[in-house]
């Protein structure tokens, strides 16, 4: 049961819904509902899905950040899946409590990885998101260690965790825990959200990060 993951996809393009459904099905993620309106994540089978894959641009001009906020406030685990890659919107989604932000240029592996991580309440940091975090110049950004920054930058540049691990002479799991620590640091700042609080609590419990680091 623990491996069985259910998801709901909100996207205004049928082809994207079909594509995501196919990608998820090959990795044993069940797509229980999909539609072009955030309503599918609140009603019927979609209401109980583990993960919500949310497109930020549902036909309208303004991004669907209010839909994201409502879902997150309800404790839902959301992976944002968007055309846009500008840093500002990416950071805003993290601030609201999305567990991951993927651009549509990023492929099946990242989407499946993000959905599976989100189902467990974990963050997932694909390269574009790493780039947005590395380029974050906001005053409220958390303090990252030089090593964390280097992992973030090299992951953004190479899109290969093996490459990052070999280059920095660390193990693959160390690369992952650096990325996780960074996300926990981000989760600990700004507005409160259940998903963010859970990320921080779990990281402290696992000894990934100390209270002093936050």
């Amino acid at each position: 049961m623990a491996d069985h993951v259910t998801a709901v996809v909100v996207d205004d393009h049928p082809v994207v819904r079909a594509g995501v459904a196919h990608w998820l099905s090959t990795e044993d993620v069940e797509l229980v509902a999909s539609g072009e309106d955030p309503g599918v994540a609140w009603t019927g089978p979609g209401a109980t899905a583990d993960v919500v894959v949310l497109d930020l641009h549902l036909g309208g001009v303004a991004p669907a950040t209010s839909a994201l906020r409502k879902l997150v406030e309800d404790g839902r685990k959301v992976v944002v899946y968007s055309m846009r890659a500008d840093d500002e919107i990416v950071l805003q989604c993290l601030e609201l409590g999305a567990l991951s932000y993927l651009t549509k240029a990023e492929g099946a592996d990242h989407l499946v990885g993000a959905v599976k991580a989100a189902a467990k309440g974990q963050s997932y940091t694909p390269p574009a998101l790493a780039g947005a975090l590395a380029g974050d110049r906001s005053e409220t950004r958390p303090a990252l260690s030089p090593r964390e920054t280097e992992v973030l930058v090299e992951w953004f540049q190479s899109e290969s965790k093996e490459f990052v691990a070999q280059r920095l002479n660390i193990t693959l799991s160390t690369v992952n825990s650096h990325l996780e620590r960074i996300r926990v640091k981000y989760a600990a700042i700004g507005r409160q959200a259940p998903t963010k609080a859970a990320l921080v609590a779990r990281a402290i419990q696992d000894g990934l990060i100390g209270l002093d680091d936050l």
Partner: protein, 357 residues
């Protein structure tokens, strides 16, 4: 400047004329006829004016004080009233012509004032002549006409000279400006040409080798050199474009060339655009351009702009062979760009970093 030169020259000539007239033509009648003391005062005043003007000319001062005109007119009144009875315009009238020359000397750059003063002088002399009565009108007319017409003639010549000098000065200035513009355009073209030659890097030797048939286009190494040159050229074309984000523009240009060669390139940008000097941009893009030129398969280009630095990186499948050319970018002192290349797990990563602070 032209005006001052004309006036200075005219005044110098007039100074000599007035000196000669006063000494040679007017002193004998002044001494030879029974003039009143006022005439001698007038002679003294005029000599004083002559001295002042000579001082100004000697000191290379272009203008003389206009109140000298009033002094001359005063001398005119004194000289006329000091004449022996019924001597106006007769040989004993030493001052009439001389005062005209003096007015010309001190007022040559003020034609309106000069003509007015000359008119006043003539009018007063004529009035004095009429007041005395019984003079020879014919002689008076000849004297007035010959004296003033000569002086007015000098004034007219001065104005004509002045106009010509102004035209000539204008033409000379225009000519100079044209020469300057021409020199500037030439210099700019040379700079541009030198700049392009400096940055053409591997292209010129490659073209020479191709022309001399020293290299073979079917050779893989030659084709690599060609693609390096193509990316360099494309980047050079993009360098002078006026765009909001020149760094990204140049990177996109290089990516475009690589994509034409069949390389699948993804470009990721993070952080907002900040101004990057052209030389720094050149050094930031160059390693990426070289790496893209030899890349095959897939490549990822990324630009990261943080608060303290700009990092341009390319990560591509490691090529079997790397062309030996590492031509340093010609011209220009080293700037703060550090380049690092490393190969791990089948990927080659080249990164250029520039610290903004």
């Amino acid at each position: 400047m032209a005006d001052l030169a004309v006036f200075a020259t005219t005044r110098r000539v007039l100074l000599v004329v007035v000196f000669a007239v006063q000494l040679v033509l007017t002193l004998p009648p002044l001494v030879g006829h029974p003039h009143g003391p006022a005439a001698w005062i007038a002679y003294g005043l005029l000599t004083g004016v002559l001295g002042v003007v000579a001082g100004y000319v000697g000191a290379a001062r272009a203008k003389v004080p206009p109140w000298l005109g009033a002094v001359v007119l005063t001398a005119s009144v004194l000289a006329t009233t000091g004449l022996p009875p019924a001597a106006s315009f007769e040989p004993a009238d030493w001052a009439f012509g001389l005062v005209g020359w003096y007015l010309l000397l001190v007022l040559v750059e003020r034609p309106v004032v000069l003509v007015s003063a000359l008119g006043a002088h003539v009018c007063f002399s004529v009035a004095w002549f009429a007041h005395a009565g019984n003079g020879d009108v014919g002689t008076a007319g000849v004297v007035i006409l010959s004296g003033t017409s000569f002086q007015l003639g000098v004034l007219v010549i001065t104005r004509v000279l002045l106009r010509d000098a102004r035209l000539a000065a204008g033409a000379a200035a225009e000519h100079d400006a044209a020469r300057t513009r021409e020199a500037l355009a030439l210099q700019r073209e040379q700079d541009l040409r030198a700049g392009f030659e400096g940055q053409l890097g591997a292209l010129l030797p490659l073209l020479a080798d191709l022309a001399d048939e020293e290299v073979d286009v079917t050779d893989r190494a030659t084709r690599l050199r060609c693609s390096v040159a193509a990316v360099q050229l494309r980047r050079l074309f993009a360098e002078n474009d006026d765009v909001p984000d020149p760094l990204l523009h140049e990177l996109t240009a290089c990516v475009d060339v690589a994509e034409r060669r069949g390389v699948v390139v993804s470009l990721a940008v993070s952080g907002t655009a900040i101004p990057v000097p052209t030389e720094v941009r050149r050094e930031l893009v160059a390693p990426m351009a070289r790496a893209l030129a030899v890349a095959s398969g897939r490549a990822k280009v990324s630009v990261l702009r943080t608060a303290t630095e700009v990092r341009v990186a390319v990560v591509a499948d490691a090529p079997q062979e790397v062309p030996e050319q590492e031509v340093p970018e010609a011209g220009g002192e080293p700037v703060q760009v550090t380049v690092e290349t490393s190969v791990h797990s089948g990927l080659v990563r080249s990164e250029a970093r520039w610290r903004t602070t």
